[in-house]
């Protein structure tokens, strides 16, 4: 049965909305459970079996709260900012290849599209912080920009390295190149380029920083800045920011999976691809949570030093070495 194209896309949009909502709700649950276990306590247990209904209770609580716009703030921008976090994240889901046939659109410049729409996120957090007219929010907004500008450079450099190896920006093509087995995954392709694991690690660190996750959670350093850029948001305004943050984590891990870990490719040949994609993606998401509850927050200067003095030179070096490694065999 074939469904005509516009209706298929509409179905995918609804599906992506549901996926983002469920993920945001249950990643919060997972985060609280994991944090509890890491700290030798139980995490949420009260609502439902093993606290599984806790996200539902949280959602009801958030939605019944009053939305307060602080006096003297720029009301329009204050209300638009959460939407600007959420909408570009939704756009990115259009091109993520969950399996060979499961993607809303097979866009030829899919990788670029994700980074283009991902770059709007900074602007949204900054506008939210600025329009709150709150000291902490403005400090946080300034931090967000310098952090994101610093980490976008090594991230795009690793992406360029990947593009040179893959030779295409189409995410489907990139995954298909890695289909042979786990030795063909980009992170393990040491024969064609011995620097692949380094590239992957830099990408992962930059992804943590771009999604404002601990140890780089300068935007929402709750022990220093109340709640950072989100201080003045109440109820679902805050909830939407939170959902946007988790949606960005899901996108980041999905991209890492597709670029480096072979996407839907199965290492043993069993099970359909989409389950492998989800397994790899959730493993990465779990490591994001793992890192958050293992390492303390870095100092702000340490954060910028890490990017400008270590990550950018290293990623530039890998870029140059990779281009040499690609070019030299072709000269003979």
């Amino acid at each position: 049965m074939t469904i005509i194209e516009p209706i298929r896309i509409l179905l995918y949009v609804v599906g992506a909305l549901a996926f983002v909502g469920v993920n945001a709700a249950y990643l919060v649950w997972l985060e609280r459970k994991a944090a509890g276990r890491f700290q030798r306590r139980a995490g949420p247990t009260e609502v439902g079996p093993a606290g599984l209904l806790q996200p539902v209770a949280d959602a009801i609580k958030l939605m019944t709260k009053q939305l307060i716009v602080p006096p003297g703030s720029d009301e329009l921008l204050f209300r638009v900012a959460p939407v600007m976090v959420m909408a570009p994240a939704m756009m990115c889901f259009a091109t993520i290849p969950f399996a060979d046939s499961i993607a809303a659109r097979n866009i030829d410049v899919g990788l670029l599209m994700i980074f283009a729409f991902g770059s709007i996120n900074v602007m949204a957090v900054m506008l939210g912080g600025w329009s709150s007219r709150n000291k902490y929010a403005i400090i946080s907004a300034a931090r967000v920009v310098s952090q994101n500008v610093a980490y976008e450079i090594p991230m795009l450099l690793t992406i360029i390295t990947m593009l040179m190896v893959a030779g295409t920006m189409n995410l489907h093509e990139i995954v298909r190149q890695q289909e042979a087995g786990f030795w063909a995954w980009n992170v393990f392709r040491l024969a064609s380029n011995p620097l692949m694991p380094v590239t992957f690690i830099i990408f992962f660190i930059c992804m943590l920083a771009e999604t404002n996750r601990a140890p780089f959670d300068m935007a929402e350093a709750e022990s220093e800045l109340v709640a950072g850029a989100y201080t003045e948001y109440s109820g679902m305004g805050f909830g939407v920011f939170f959902m946007g943050e988790y949606a960005n984590i899901v996108i980041g891990c999905a991209i890492a999976t597709a670029l480096f870990l072979g996407g839907w490719g199965s290492p043993v040949g069993a099970l359909p691809g989409v389950w492998w994609f989800l397994a790899k993606m959730y493993f990465l998401i779990f490591s994001v949570i793992w890192i958050r509850w293992t390492f303390p927050r870095t100092q702000f200067y340490g954060l910028l030093n890490l990017s400008w003095k270590i990550l950018i030179p290293v990623s530039l070096t890998t870029l140059v070495l990779t281009s040499i490694a690609i070019k030299i065999p072709r000269m003979f």
Binding site: T2, I4, E5, P6, I7, D74, L76, L77, I107, D108, V109, L112, M113, F115, A116, F117, G118, S119, I120, V122, M123, M126, L127, W130, S131, I138, A141, A142, V145, N148, V149, M169
Partner: protein, 176 residues
């Protein structure tokens, strides 16, 4: 596969919506009194432009427009505003000065408008014989062959801009 009903009408409506977004973004950028709203208007205008590029069969340019103009330029401008002036004070201006500057701006704007509209009306527009495929490879080849001169000159401009920024940053540091 059957054609989706009203497909051309929907496409036309989306095209008009992008035109409206571009124009309204530009108007907000030019007319709003708060500078931060002006930047938001600029961002909106760029998103509309990206949509128009997409209609011109060039998704790469559309995404670059968003990545560079919204994601980098607008963010930098907002950052500058935020560091410079958290509380905006609108300065009073004398009426005669406002009249003089206003009429000057009006004259220049009208001259530009007339020149551009005359140019676009007088030019014999030919519809392109073949449609470029707009792929990344085609753009890359064009940049390094047909337009290599422009490409190199732009890189020189960027180099000068970086050097200028360094010079300004240096003197700023020694003064404090």
């Amino acid at each position: 596969m059957t054609e989706f009903p009203f497909a051309p009408a929907i496409a036309a409506a989306i095209f008009l919506a992008f035109c409206a977004i571009t124009v309204s973004g530009a108007l907000i950028a030019a007319l709003s009194k708060r500078i931060i709203r002006g930047v938001c208007g600029l961002a909106l205008c760029c998103i509309g432009l990206a949509g128009l590029f997409y209609f011109l069969n060039s998704p790469f340019l559309a995404l670059m427009e968003i990545l560079i103009y919204v994601g980098a330029v607008c963010v930098t401008i907002v950052f500058g505003i935020m560091l410079a002036e958290p509380e905006e004070v609108i300065e009073g201006e004398s009426r005669s000065a406002a009249l003089v500057w206003g009429s000057c701006a009006m004259l220049v704007g009208a001259a530009f408008f007339l020149a551009l509209s005359r140019l676009s009306l007088a030019h014999p527009w030919l519809s392109p014989t073949s449609r470029a495929d707009g792929s990344v490879a085609a753009i890359g080849v064009a940049l390094l062959t047909t337009y290599s001169m422009a490409f190199e000159v732009i890189s020189l401009v960027l180099l000068v801009a970086i050097l200028g920024a360094l010079v300004i940053a240096r003197t700023g540091r020694s003064r404090t």
